[in-house]
């Protein structure tokens, strides 16, 4: 994101603090990203739509409290969306769902000693089922949403080193089990 874009966003946010209608352009800009983020964690279009609306209502309700904290504005949106997902699963007491795209898995795997067929993908899914939820959340934010560690730390309310550690631990397990190299390792 360029300096100019950050300045523009900042000026829209300042305007939105006194006039919520001014927030419309940021809503349009970030709606898709937040919706997909919620959809990946629910696998339910209607539910993702409801959580997305609630996320933006919460954003407007709290925009006066928003301050720049060294992370992009979008990280604040992800944080509020994460809280909405957490609230939903706490209420429903259901098992957490992660919906992942097959194409994206293949994109992420840079090198592999074995050919990635259906069977390998099923094994990977079984492996992911047993990963702790916090590790999966970090992986989703890192590889699907392409957030950096500072943003992940802010979104999940953990330290930056904690976010790095969770990612590397999960990747390490993946590497050992599947003998693969994953993009964005660094």
């Amino acid at each position: 994101m360029s300096e100019e874009e950050i300045r523009q966003e900042e000026s829209i946010i300042q305007k939105a603090k006194s006039n919520p209608a001014a927030f419309a352009s940021l809503y349009e800009k970030y709606f898709d990203r937040i919706y997909y983020y919620l959809y990946r964690q629910t696998d339910d279009e209607e539910l993702a739509g409801d959580l997305c609306s609630q996320t933006f209502v919460n954003v407007l309700n709290n925009i006066k409290k928003y301050e720049l904290r060294g992370v992009p504005f979008s990280a604040w949106l992800y944080k509020i969306a994460s809280n909405e997902v957490r609230k939903h699963y706490r209420k429903s007491k259901g098992k957490k769902v992660f919906s992942i795209e097959e194409v994206r898995i293949k994109e992420l795997i840079e090198e592999s000693d074995e050919v990635w067929d259906e069977d390998q993908i099923n094994k990977l899914i079984d492996f992911m089922k047993d990963l702790p939820e916090d590790m999966l959340q970090v992986l989703v934010l890192r590889f699907y949403e392409e957030r950096d560690f500072k943003e992940i730390a802010y979104i999940l309310d953990i330290t930056e080193s904690g976010a790095k550690m969770r990612t590397y631990r999960a990747l390490d397990k993946l590497r050992k089990k599947f003998k693969i190299k994953i993009k964005y390792d660094g």
Binding site: P20, A21, A24, Y27, E28, F31, D32, Y35, Y36, Y39, D43, E45, A48, G49, C52, S53, F56, V57, L60, N61, K95, K96, V97, F98, S99, I100, E101, E102, V103, R104, I121, I125, D126, M128, K129, D130, L131, P132, E133, L136
Partner: protein, 81 residues
């Protein structure tokens, strides 16, 4: 049985299905409704506080009156002392 449920999608998500959820006017309306409810709660809370303070004042003044009635001070006795 794992800790999480992982579902695999064969196709990439497209922007087509998502359009029906995009509605800033409804978000704005819900925000205004929330603001109104918050205001009503704040005003109600303010009146409750005022009511409690008034009740405390009434209670204290009655208690004072009652304690004075129980133990009347005789002025002539005070002067003699």
């Amino acid at each position: 049985m794992g800790r999480n449920e992982i579902r695999l999608r064969r196709h990439r998500m497209t922007a087509r299905g998502i359009e029906r959820f995009r509605n800033y006017n409804s978000v704005l309306k819900r925000h205004e409704d929330n603001k109104r409810i918050k205001k009503v709660i704040r005003v109600f809370g303010f009146f409750v506080v005022i009511l409690i303070v008034v009740m405390i004042i009434i209670f204290l003044s009655r208690w004072e009156e009652r304690s004075q009635a129980k133990d009347p001070v005789n002025t002539s006795e005070v002067i003699e002392k």
